[in-house]
Structures are given as C-alpha cells and as structure tokens.
C-alpha cells in the first residue's frame, strides 16, 4: 500500500527527470558520446528500477518509446541509441533465458553467434549473468518476477564497462606503438586516445604529432598537446594543411571516433576522412581507438543525415557583417571515414578489422531493436 503512494510521486519525479534530460540533450548541455552514453545508462537504471510490468514486452515498449524521445533530442548522437539498444538486448536476453529455463530447453532459442564469438572473446560480458541465472534456475517460477534485479545488475555492469573502457583500451597500447615511432592523431577531443597514449608512454618512447583540427577543436588540441607534453611525450602541434607533407614520416595514425557504424565506417571529427585518405596513400596504418558503446547498428545509407552541423560562428566571425549577409557557411562537426580507410579498430574487447564490425553488432544488439 505504502509502495503505491511512493510509486506515483516517484513516477512524477522520474518523468520530470526524463524531460529535464531531454531538454539538456537538446541544449547540448550534455555533449560527447561518452557523457551521453553514461547519462543514458544511468537514466535507464532509474527507469527500469521504477518500472512495473506484467509481461516483459511492456518493459521493452516502454524503453523503446523512451529511446525514441532521447534519440530525437540529439538525433546524431548515436551513443544514446546504442545504450538503449544494449539495454533492450539485455532485457530480451534475460527474459528469454528465464523462458528457456521454464520450458527446460536452453539451447533452442539462444543466439547462434554468441557461442562462436565467445571463443574469441577475452572478456565475456554475459558469462557471469548466465552463470548466476543457472544457479537460481532451481527456484522455478519465481524467476519471472525477479527479473528486475538481473536487469538492473546488467545495466550496472554496462555502466561499469563504460567507466572502465579507456583502461582496457589503453592497456593494448604497448602492442600497437613501437619504440621511437611517430604517431599522428587528428582527434584531440578523444579521451580514449589521450589515455591510450599516456599509458603507452610509461613503457615506450615515441613522438606524437597533434593535428590542430580547425575550427572546432583548436583549444582542445592545445590542451591535449599540453597534457601529452607534461607526461614527457615529445609532442608537436601541426596545422591541418601540413598533414600530407608530414605523412611520409608518420608510423601510425591513431584516430578517436564519435561513432562506429555497422559497416566499420566511422563518424569522426571533421578532417579525419581527409587524413585517413592521406594515410592510405602513404600506406600508413590507421588505427581507431573506440569503446564498444560507440558501435552503432546503423548502416550509413545516408551519410549526410548522420553528420551534425555545428556553430557557423566558428568558421566565420559573426562580426563580419558584409560576409555574413552574402555567404552561406556550413560547419560540419563530423566526417564519415569509410571502412576501407581504416586498418584496425581497437575496442575494449580487443582489436578487430573494420570488416568484422558487423559481427560485433550482431553480438551486442538485437535485430528487432535496430529501429527504435
């Protein structure tokens, strides 16, 4: 009885919370794929713990509706949709598992691919869940009702994964970067790349060339370069125009990315496409560091619709009245980097070729959730 009263106020709270979150997304007060992903996961945690359902499909539709709203708030921030799809997949999996155990036939409905992938995987995410599931199997029907704690636990794990993602990627740096190698990176706003380089610098001595990425990330470039220099890495900031001439001396291009699409293509900060093309001409390997939460099941049929167009004022000073009146300025924030230009994706689950990305997508998302 008491719970019912608490429930309605809680629901109100939650609704207000969701609306405020949507407004913040629209205002770009929460920005950047990591922040959005983390905030989304935390919101879903609240939603699931407040939600009530008699059948698992109700929960799924509820979250799908929420997902559509969040996605609409920042349509080009794919991380938000990715997290929602991950959670949906999680819910479906949990429910299927309980159904399976009820019917006493575990093998029929389980996804085909998971088992094969598990052989390769070093970090089996769903392993523990499954283990715990099987332990409780004995209690029979009660499992259906107790689904919620497992889902919450799953989301909690997802949040932990998000928080530790940079660590697991950074640990692979030693295998990627050789002694005295010259690294070029055009994505200074990537935390992942920063940690990757800093961690590797503890064991290796190498040079980093940081591309300025005018106009959107110039300040961040300088901060990034300063952090590297403070860690004792030999760092040089170069202008965007110098990339081609210097590429011959570069050992590897390391890219951070905004999103990874189902075909292995990237949405990275503007300029990345040109630099990766340039690297291809010089046969310089292009390595992408990315957390799996950036992996989206979307396929780039219409590249333009995925690219966010930012503040025009960064390209052309607004003060300049005569130009403002006559020139149409576009400031795309991202570039589409085709999968052919990328040689390797380092994720928190290991390094993969871009052509293998579709497989990871199938492992992490359900086909029925691709369109929210």
């Amino acid at each position: 009885m008491l719970a019912a009263g608490a429930h309605t106020t809680k629901e109100k709270d939650l609704n207000a919370h969701i609306e405020a979150f949507v407004a913040q997304l629209k205002r770009r007060q929460i920005q950047g794929s990591y922040n959005v992903a983390l905030a989304t996961a935390q919101l879903l945690l609240r939603v699931v713990s407040a939600a009530r359902w008699t059948h698992i499909d109700q929960l799924v539709t509820q979250i799908k509706i929420l997902g559509k709203r969040l996605q609409g708030a920042q349509p080009r921030e794919l991380a938000c949709g990715n997290i929602i799809r991950r959670v949906l997949a999680l819910i479906r999996e949990e429910s299927e598992d309980t159904n399976d155990s009820e019917s006493g036939d575990g093998a029929v409905n389980s996804p085909l691919i998971t088992s094969m992938f598990s052989l390769l995987s070093t970090n089996d995410e769903y392993g523990p869940n499954r283990g715990s599931q099987s332990l409780i199997d004995g209690s029979g029907r009660s499992i259906k009702k107790d689904l919620k704690p497992y889902i919450i636990e799953g989301i909690q794990e997802l949040i932990d994964e998000l928080k530790n993602i940079d660590e697991s990627i950074a640990s692979m740096g030693v295998e990627m970067i050789h002694e005295n190698e010259t690294i070029l990176t055009p994505t200074p706003n990537s935390r992942t790349v920063l940690k990757f380089l800093l961690r590797t610098a503890q064991k290796r001595k190498f040079t980093v060339l940081v591309v300025e990425v005018f106009p959107n990330d110039v300040e961040k470039t300088h901060e990034f370069a300063l952090k590297l220099a403070e860690a004792g890495i030999e760092t040089t900031v170069i202008t965007d125009a110098m990339v081609y001439s210097i590429m011959g001396r570069v050992g590897k291009v390391i890219l951070g990315t905004h999103a990874v699409l189902a075909n292995g293509g990237l949405l990275a900060s503007a300029g990345a496409a040109m630099i990766s093309q340039c690297a291809n001409v010089h046969r310089t390997p292009v390595v992408v560091c990315t957390g799996l939460y950036k992996l989206s099941p979307m396929y780039p049929f219409d590249v333009e619709s995925l690219i966010e167009v930012g503040d025009t004022g960064k390209v052309l000073a607004f003060e300049d009245g005569s130009l403002v009146d006559k020139v149409n300025v576009v400031n795309p924030l991202y570039d589409y980097v085709p999968p052919e230009s990328v040689d390797l994706c380092i994720t928190n689950m290991g390094g993969y070729s871009p052509s293998f990305m579709y497989r990871l997508v199938l492992d992490h998302y359900r086909q029925e959730d691709v369109t929210l």
């Binding site: 629209k26 205002r27 349509p75 503040d311 607004f318 003060e319 005569s322 403002v324 149409n328």
Partner: protein
Amino acid sequence: MGPKKTGQGNKTKVSKQPSQQNATQEDTNQEERLQAIVLSDSYQTRFQPLTLETPRCLLPLCNTALLEYTFEFLALAGVSEVIVVCCAHADQIKEYIAHSRWSNPSSPFTIETVLSPESVSVGDAMRDLDAKGLITSDFLLVSGDIVCNVPFDKVLAAHRQRRAKDKNAIMTMVLREASPLHRTRARAESAIFVLDEQTNQCVHYEEVKTRKHMQQISLDPEIFNKHTDLAIRNDFIDCHIDICSPDVPALFTENFDYNHIRKDFVHGILTSDLLGKTIFAHVVTDNYAARVRSLQTYDAVSKDVISRWTYPITPDSNLLADQTFQYQRGHIYKEEDIVLARSCRINSCTVIGAGTAVNDGTVITGSVIGRRCKIGKNVSIQSAYIWDDVTIEDDAIIESAIIANGAVIGTSSRVAPGAIVSYNVKIDSNVTVDGNKRLTRYLGDGHKRVDKDAVGEHGDGYVYEDDSEAEEDDDYEEIVNSSGLVYNMASLNASDTSFSTTSADQMHRKTRRRRVSTASSNTMASEDSDEDSFLREAQASVERAIAENHDLDIAALELSTLRMAKNAQFHDVRAATIAALIGRISHLINSNTLKARAAVESVLNQWGPLFRRQVFDQADQIDFLLLVQRDCTRRMQGSTILLHAINCLYDQDILEEESILKWWQAPQSKEDADMVKVGELVPRWLEWLTTAEEESDSE
C-alpha cells in the same frame, strides 16, 4: 532482500541529506540563485498590425514563438526564477506559458507571470516591479524577444566580482560585437557606447538617430580625466540583456521620468553626478546575441537561426516537443509529414513546417513556411516569412514579405518586398500588394472595413495606418522606414559610413577643442564641470548683487551658500568674485562712465570687503593676486586696473605688503607674455611702496 536493501539505502541517504542539502542550498542562495525578469511587451508599435492580435513575443520566428528562444537562453544561463511581466495581450502570454513545458516540474526554473497593465514603457514596468517588491537580488533583465546562446557563467561571474568590489556597479550590459553595417543590428536603434578600455566601464551612452545624420556627440571633459583609455564604439548589437542589481528598479522609482532603459536610464545614470553609480559593459566576441526589435531584425535573426549562428538553438533542435525538424544540406529544415511535388524546388536556407503541401513547379528560396500551408502550382516564394495555415494559390509571387496565419493569397497575385499581410487577410486574384502596405483584418473599432483597391474585389482586409503614432512621434517615420523588412541598403550605406567618418573626425575636433579650453580656462585653473558651473553661478550672483545694489552681507551669504552647495574651494569663490568685480570695473571704464582709477575705487570700496571672507592667509593673498592678474589680462587697460586694484585693496588692508612682494617674486606672476604685460606698471608701485615704507620707518 532487494527492496529492503534499497530502503536502507534511502534511509541512509535521507539521514545524510539534510546537512548536505542545507549546505548546498545556502550555496545556491548565495551564488546560484538568479532571478530573471522577462518584459514580454516591447512598448513599441513596429510590428503592427501583427501585434494588434498577437503579442510580439509570441510571433513565430522559424516556426517557434520568440518567447521560447528567450526561455531557452535563460535555461542555458542557469536562471532559477523567471518573472514574466505582461502588459498587452497578457491573457495570451499567460495561457501560452501555462501550457508550455516551462510550467512543467521538469522546467529548469520556476516561472511566474506578473500583470502590469498600466505600464506603457520599460520604466513603468520597472517601477511596478519595485512597488511589488518581487526583486530580492541581482537579476537578469531581458525582453521576451531575444535570441542568444552566450554561455552566461562568465558574464555573471564578472558582474558579481565587480559588485563585490564596488556596490555602485549596478548594471552590466551584454553587448555583441558586430560590424556597423551588420544585418542583425537594428538600424533605427544603434547607439554609441563610450567604454573604458581597461575596466569595460561604460562612461557615456548616446543614441544615434540615423535620419538626422548625427554630426557630433558631446562628452563630459571629466571623463578624460578619470579614464586613460577610452573606446568610442558604434559596433555593438545591443540586445538589452542586462544584469541589474535591485538598485535599478529603485532608481526607476526615484526618477519617475525614466522610461527607456537605455535612452533614459543608462544615459541618465551616466550623466548624473550625484548618484555615483557605475554601469559596465560585457563585450561578447563569440557566440550569438540578438534581439528581434524591428521587422528588419526579424528578417536578420531568422536568417541567423537558419544558418546556424545560434547553434544549438536551431530549428532542428526541435525546441518544442511536437516539432520534428530535420536538417538537410544547404540549411534546409523540413518537418515530418510534408508533401512536396516532384517538380517543386526547395532552395537553400528554407524551413518548412509539418502538414504543408507544395505543388508542382513552385520554387521556394530562403524562406520560412509554417505548418499546414497550402502552396499552389508555379508559385515563387523568396525570402518570405509565411506563418501557419496560409493558402497561396497558383502562380502567386511573394518576395520578402510576412504573411501571417490564415491569410489567403489569390491566383497570380503578387506581394512586393516589405509588405505585411496580417492574420486572415484574403487577397483576391491578380492583385499586387505594394511593398509599403500593411494589410490587416483587425477590427479595432468594431466595424468592418475592406479596401477593395488593396485586396481586390473578393478580398478581405484593409490597409493599416498607424496614425496616432505618426502624429505624436516625429521619429516614427524613420523607425518604420528603417525597421521595415526591406531596407534600402544603398542609402543606409551612405548615411552610416558618413556617420562613422564624422564620428572619427569629431573625436579629433573634440580633443582639439578641449586643449583650447584648458588653455583658456587656466584663469580658473580648473576644468571641472562642477566647478565650472559653480564659477558661472557665483559670478552671476555677485554681478546681480552689484547691479541690484544688494547689501554686502547678503552677497557674502549668497556666495557662501553656493560654495557649500557645490562643495567648491575658496579659490573658486575668489575667482568668481574677481571675475564679477573686474568685469564691472572694465564695464564702467569702457562705457566711459568713470576713469580707470575712479572706477576701481568706486567698485572696490563698496565690494572689496567681500574678499575679507575669502582671503585668509598669505598663500590666499598670493593666489588672489594671481587671479586678479590673470583676469586683468583679458581686459582693456588691464595693467591700470591691476595697479589701482592692488593699491585700493592695500589701502583697505585686504592685501599685506609682504604678500604683494612675494606675489611679484613668484614665477607664476610672470609665466607668460600676457601676465608680464599686464604687470608692467607694478614695479613702479612697488618702488613707491618700499620708499613709502622707508619714509614711514624713518619717521
């Protein structure tokens, strides 16, 4: 287990929370809490006849009400309490706010509407607010028609820092830098700001009247004494975003004639010597800030929003919950559910709302189309603003016009640049609406009017003329002309460039003139305006006393009262008295009433005793003599007057021998040719003085 656990978690949280919350609340009270006053009324008539039916702040800009942009900015700025002051159309604004997402619990601030039905100006609204006592701390004052994405924390921090240092820094104006001819600058309302380069203190404000070809501005010379680096600037977009202290509404109450926040208030505060309040400017060089204050800026701000200068406040952010805009290459924004014929062409910088259908062969360029519009075949729409539910029939041509909700434009009709077609006006086929026409169907006085000439045989609506305003305000025409949707750039160009050159050379002239004035005012040894005015008044008072033959005591009393009131030095009192007396003497001489000696004696014997209350010690006497000498340089027969005056005052024991000698030895008494010349007779008198002394000694 699960629920229990969470319960415990809650409990521990609860027990912790009070202390934390208190702490944070106190913090927020001190730092975070920020009130904002939104003036929903513009107190202007520029958008008439549109604003006859809808308040300005609810007019759609890129299919979103203007007020939404203001609230969005306030949310970004971290405001926690918004007070909307409503005047005209208060019910509409109230209803809009009540149904908007800002009244939901998820809104980042609390919102309150305050009625101020009698107010006819910003000043009235401020006085009303002051009377209601709603303002408790520093607040943000904005009008309901701004579009701004400036991150506000820095501005606010700077303001608070200044306030903490100096309680008199009552206001910070946020100004966006832009070139003088920028489209987003309101043509009719540009202004000159004189800022201290180092502190950004605004020391002078002057409104620019474009029509009157302003030739000069006058600055108080004191400004140059107080500030070393001054910038005189005419390149700001002033969108009236101000951070004000609670003193501001109080000052409005004190000065009941202040109406306009800039023209009256800022100008008044800056020119007032008594208040000692200071106003600062915060110049923003990146990000966007503008105000929709005229049709011309409506056009410009719409274009800015479409071309994403206002990012992230763009149509595709879908500010309203039911909006579904998507961005396409070339700044084209389309909502879901629109019907476009295969052969129609949508060119760049266009916004199209949901439910709109565009037929074959139609070309739309750089325009905003609202929701549920029906656009026929082969229509041409260029830089036009077409609001919701408009029907445009085949072959119509619309250029740079505003077509408001529910209007109908007949087949093959043409709406020329600059025209406004207000709500539900119907224009018949084959009619041309001229560029200067504003059509409406508003029934202000109850009876229906139809101008068949303007809207055609089967049309509905009449030409709106704002006669009341035109008679009252001679600037009206200028404002209408320059604030119209279309502005003749050529003529503007000439006027504004000529203005800027005059302002530049005005500056030179100004400094030159100032130099001259300092030189000539050396007699007064002061350029202080306060002292200047004292000098004038004191001199006038003595002259009056002489002319009306007042009693000496009364004249002395009057002088000392004046001195107290203006807080002047005795030096200035002496200067004024000397100027008056010697003026009188030279007048008597020049008009041949009396000879020099007699004139001096007659005046000084009667009025000389005034100096007894002005000259006290030797230093005073020397100063006095220097003043007399300097004054005499300006007079005919100055040297004679000087000689006789010294003699006369010596006889009256106002001047002592020792100080006369010291004066004569002092370098100031011979500092330039004029002074030397006027003193040419003095040595002989001094000779007589010393010999007389010796004689009396020997006696």
